[in-house]
Symmetry: C2
């Protein structure tokens, strides 16, 4: 459809009525085409998974020994084989002796760490978070990752939203909160290509997190480095070395680091990692020992055979970029064509990661999602990027372009842009029109 | 060495002094040979793992779809692929819709279930176990599996020992305890070839567990079916169908079932399972959702390609038996030759599973372990088979014959038998002699 040119803030009611009619007709026509599209899924496409097809025949019969002679097939080795810790320690900026591989899901490691914090505390010398007067709380930069919020909600940990900025959490707000309230026990941070805004945490913000005075002695930065190597441009920035920053600040135990291969190899069949200070690594091992005899070392060996060094990881990620960068470009181009200048939306232009964050006219995000659903386009529920699923401004929508085909991404984004405009005009006219 | 013939109960002090001197000399000679043997490890031998060598090249590039078209490489599918649930549901006597595959460790599933019971309760309508007045307790048949006890101790759940008998837990004791004390929330049961005694739970005992009145409405049988298909003889008994027994008794939610492929395929790289009533399966899914996007479905598919039906599983287990049955036979023959008639020990003759349970003269198990250690033979610490590592009679020792070679198993058992005799004579003479 041709782009409709107007500015929502200045258009008069007569113009709005015309535009409304036109957009409504376009929406009805879209519904009639019977689309089934999905922009909700932050997961790799089959083409991306095909890049790791070789994994499925590895490590091969007879190839089951780690470099130190460990039989990877058998029980044992709570922290993972040495070579996988060395390689992925380099990628996540953690010494090999301070990184643990465990399971196929870094989310599970986050869940378990927070469970142990709640039940038993961050060390043998501190109280469990669960016994905090008034309830422990964790700061949640917003918009953020819904699964982070789900873990906290499940454990009864209060969530306090803080603004997410282009260089990380808003440190003016964060500093003030953590200095004055000892029930605030932690903060989520996604340092590289944060979900959903794509923000990169600056060294200044990372240093401030490491150095800031906190009323809680057992404060933890929950450093979810999910997109460490997931670049969309030739610039391949490194993440601030938070472990060293914390150590230099005299707070070596303040950060716990999470990462995985989930969006590098096979999303559901990869490796996940925990990194931290020697204290924090010993702390986690105490709980891992109670839970398991050890991780799947065959999968560690399989991954090490497929990706034996940092260069091979970076090369693989560039091939991912070739598949997904055009999808991001298509979304951004369509949003620009249909929405720029209309005053109905702002969005991020990420240089990596898996998402585009779209802010629509306040109060219309739910309506946009509803209108899109009517047209067969699934969007992440409005509010999902906020604690308790509640976006106070009903404004943010997360776009996940990686999984659908390029054609589907484009078609879905065309529909989405239409719904953004329609919801904005409906609101300005003070009425909604039933689809 | 030739067997020494005496009866510890009736030998006079002069005879005991002679025997003591002879055994001490034998022990010193054994120390001088500089053995390094290990009977502690309840894990498969490399020869057993070789039986599943084919797994390491599966599922093969391009073979990544489950029967229903699910791409096993990607995220999702919280409960596992249908075909793996059907197959292993048949083995664990659970309908496919009521079994969940999750991760490489059934111990982890037990840990997580008990953690959720403690933090959140067995349903939305019940209090968390952690809020039980006086502290929740779980019955532990002894001797039992140390890792079960470690989980409970870590969660602060009290452990109450109950005797393990040849047909399962001593139901006279169990019935009395659970009827009168609502803080008693569960009981561990290993129905097939219990660790370490090898006992098989009879249908009568299973029915009694299902039917018995419990003061706690949220009582759970923790049914760890670790050795469901791990037979050592031609008799291949099936385990009582506890799920049906509980349903028939009007207590459908009373049992939670655990199992794994750990000692079937690769011990550290297998599949693990949770089974239960529809309520219990929905209950667990609520917590799994908070923790993970899904299990490693590629490993599920890999296992399904390697073991596509129950017959292939049973055939594989018979090959395991060929490897390990001679090791069990060697241990039993040596114990019989050296210890029968001496009054110094009793032991089990398991028809399956991974262990032999040895009861020595009360008060000497720790000394036996110490004497064996002096001779370079590692034994599971005395007391490990009891809650809190405390065997009140200092009597039980767990023998794990599967991992060492046949020659090493025989040599270690010879040494062990010597130490049993020496410790017994030391005790009867009222003195210990330093090695």
């Amino acid at each position: 459809m041709p782009a409709i040119t107007f500015d929502i803030a200045t258009a008069d009611q007569a113009t709005l009525a015309d535009i409304h009619e036109s957009l409504h007709a376009e929406h009805q026509a879209l519904i009639a085409t019977g689309l089934t599209l999905d922009l909700t899924r932050g997961k790799p496409s089959p083409e991306q998974l095909d890049l790791s097809a070789g994994l499925l025949a590895l490590p091969a019969p007879g190839d089951h020994y780690a470099a130190d002679g460990t039989d990877c097939r058998n029980y044992g080795g709570l922290t993972g084989i040495r070579e996988i810790r060395e390689l992925w320690g380099e990628i996540f900026e953690v010494p090999a002796g301070q990184i643990i591989e465990s399971g196929n899901s870094s989310l599970a490691l986050m869940h378990d760490c927070l469970t142990h914090f709640t039940l038993a505390g961050t060390s043998v010398d501190t109280e469990p978070w669960g016994r905090t007067a008034g309830g422990a709380a964790v700061l949640c930069p917003v918009p953020g990752y819904d699964r982070h919020f789900t873990i906290l909600e499940g454990l009864g940990i209060r969530m306090i939203s803080v603004p997410m900025r282009a260089d990380g959490p808003d440190m003016t707000v964060v500093r003030r909160l953590v200095a004055g309230d000892e029930s605030i026990k932690g903060i989520w941070t996604m340092p590289s290509y944060s979900n959903p805004t794509g923000a990169l945490c600056s060294t200044e913000v990372a240093r401030a997190l490491a150095e800031m005075p906190t009323a809680a002695a057992d404060f933890r930065i929950l450093w979810d480095n999910a997109y460490a190597v997931h670049h969309l441009t030739d610039e391949e920035p490194t993440v601030p070395d938070i472990l060293s920053l914390c150590a230099a600040a005299g707070n070596p135990d303040r950060v716990v680091i999470f990462g995985s291969t989930s969006k590098i190899t096979n999303a559901g069949a990869g490796l996940s990692f925990f990194g931290g200070s020697p204290h924090n690594v010993a702390w986690l091992q105490r709980y891992l020992f109670r839970r398991t005899i050890g991780p799947d070392k065959v999968n560690e060996l399989r991954h090490f055979r497929f990706l034996p060094d940092v260069d091979s990881v970076r090369a693989l990620m560039r091939r991912h970029r070739e598949v997904i960068a055009p999808k991001f470009a298509a979304v951004l181009e369509i949003l620009d064509t249909r929405l720029t200048g209309t005053g109905t939306a702002e969005w991020t232009t990420p240089t990596g990661g898996y998402f585009i964050s779209l802010d629509v006219v306040p109060g219309t995000a739910s309506r946009v999602v509803e209108l899109a659903k009517q047209a067969g386009i699934a969007l992440t529920p409005a509010g999902a990027t906020f604690p308790y699923g509640n976006d106070p401004d009903d404004r943010n929508i997360r776009i996940a372009p990686t999984f659908p085909s390029l054609a589907d991404v484009a078609a879905a984004t065309e529909g989405l842009a239409l719904c953004v405009l329609l919801a904005a005009v409906e609101q300005r006219r003070g009425a909604t029109v039933s689809g």
